[in-house]
Symmetry: C2
DNA sequence: GTCTATATGGCGATAGAC
DNA sequence: GTCTATCGCCATATAGAC
C-alpha cells in the first residue's frame, strides 16, 4: 500500500512524457527532452518503460481514454434529445478547452498503428453502434430530421474538434493571429455549435441565435 | 527552353518527396526513403534542395497552395449564395477525395513553423477578410441567419475536412473499418454536408434531404 | 531505483571521382 | 548532374557502479 505515490518517478515520467509527446508527436519527441521535463535521468525512462514506443503507447492510450470519456451517461439520460445533444457539445468543447492540444495530437498519431488504435477502441466501453441506434430512434420518432446517423455523429465531432485541430491556421486567417480572440471564439462555440446543429436537425422548429 | 522536362530529376524528387512527406510527415520521413521512391541517389536530394527542411518547405507550399485553390472565382460569382456555397462544398470535398491524405498532412505540420505558415498565407491571393465581409452582406440581406461569419467559415471547413483528417478512427468506429463503405460515405457527403449547412443557415426555409 | 558512461545504429549532410 | 564513400552527429538503448 505504501508505494501509491502521486509524485512517484513513474508518475513524473508519465506527466512529462504526455507534455512532450502531445507537443512534438512520437517522431518529434526526444527521450532526453522527456527526461529533462521530468527532472530525472534518461536511463530511468528505459528502466520504467523499456523503450520509446512503449512509453508512447502508455501516453496515447491514457490520452485516448481521456478524450473519449464515458459519453454514455450524457447521451443516454432521460432528458429530451436536443438537451442531451446540447449538453454533449458543451461538455465536449469544455474538455477540449482544458486540453487544447489533444485533437491535433490524436489526429497526428491516428495513422501510426491501426492495430493499436483498434485495440484501444475495443477496450473502451463505448459502443458506437449503440449510439447510432439511439440516433435512429430519434429519427423514427421524428424529433429530428432523417439522415445518416453517422453523418450526424461525424458532423458533431468535426464541428467540435476541427477548430482546435486547425487552430494555428484558423487563428491566423480569421483572427489576426490573436490568441486571446481565438480563445474567446472557442468558448462562444459551446453555444454557437449547439445552435448550428440543432437548427439543422430539428424538424419544424427554427431556433434563432438569440433565443 | 530545352530543360522544361516533366520527367526531370527535380520533378521526380518533388513527386517522391510529396508521397513520402504526406504519409510520414517531416519528422517521420527519411531522405533515403525519398531517394528510393524517386529512384535516384540520396546525394542528389541535397544537390537539388540543399537540405531536408528546404525540400519539405517546397512540398508543403506546393500542397498548401493546392488545397487552398482560388476559391474566389466560386465564392464571388453572380449566382445566389446558397448555390455558391453548395458548389464550394462539392468542389472542396471533391478536391479532398482526390487528395485524401492532404488534410491530415496539413493539420500535422501546421504547428511546426508558424512564421513559414504565415508567409504562405500572405503569398496566397486569398483574402479571408473579403470572404467574411461577403458572408456578412448576405446576413445583412437576410438571405441567411445572422451569426459570426467566422463560425460559418470554420463550420464549412470542419465539416468538409474532418472526415478526411480523422478517417482511420471514424472508419473503425462507424464503418467496421470498411474502406469501401467509408469511401462511399465520403462521396455522399458532398450532398449531405451541403444540406446540413443550408438547413442550418437558410432563413424561413427548411430544405429536406429528399428535395 | 537512480545515476554516469558508453555502445550502437541511423540519419542528414558532404567530399570528391566521373 | 549523378554517383560512391564517408563523415559527424545525435538519438535510442544498455552496462554497470552505487
Amino acid at each position: 500500500m505504501s508505494e501509491i505515490n502521486k509524485d512517484s518517478t513513474e508518475e513524473k515520467i508519465l506527466h512529462a512524457a504526455q507534455t512532450v509527446f502531445i507537443q512534438k508527436g512520437m517522431d518529434g519527441a526526444r527521450m532526453q527532452e522527456i527526461a529533462n521535463e521530468a527532472k530525472i535521468n534518461k536511463a530511468l525512462l528505459h528502466y520504467y518503460f523499456r523503450n520509446k514506443q512503449k512509453l508512447f503507447e502508455a501516453i496515447f492510450s491514457k490520452v485516448f481514454n481521456q478524450i473519449f470519456p464515458d459519453i454514455r451517461s450524457l447521451i443516454f439520460s432521460e432528458k429530451p434529445f436536443e438537451e442531451r445533444l446540447g449538453a454533449f457539445v458543451e461538455r465536449y468543447i469544455d474538455l477540449l478547452l482544458k486540453n487544447p492540444f489533444l485533437p491535433a495530437f490524436i489526429l497526428k498519431e491516428i495513422n501510426r498503428d491501426p492495430d493499436f488504435l483498434a485495440s484501444l477502441i475495443k477496450k473502451q466501453g463505448i459502443n458506437p453502434e449503440e449510439i447510432l441506434q439511439m440516433i435512429e430512434q430519434e429519427m423514427e420518432a421524428e424529433t429530428i430530421c432523417r439522415m445518416d446517423p453517422r453523418d450526424l455523429m461525424i458532423n458533431i465531432l468535426g464541428l467540435s474538434i476541427f477548430p482546435f485541430a486547425a487552430r494555428p491556421l484558423m487563428q491566423m486567417m480569421f483572427f489576426n493571429n490573436s490568441k486571446k480572440e481565438y480563445n474567446e471564439f472557442l468558448i462562444k462555440r459551446k453555444e454557437s455549435v449547439k445552435i448550428f446543429i440543432l437548427n439543422s436537425i430539428l424538424v419544424n422548429k427554427k431556433q434563432m441565435p438569440g433565443g
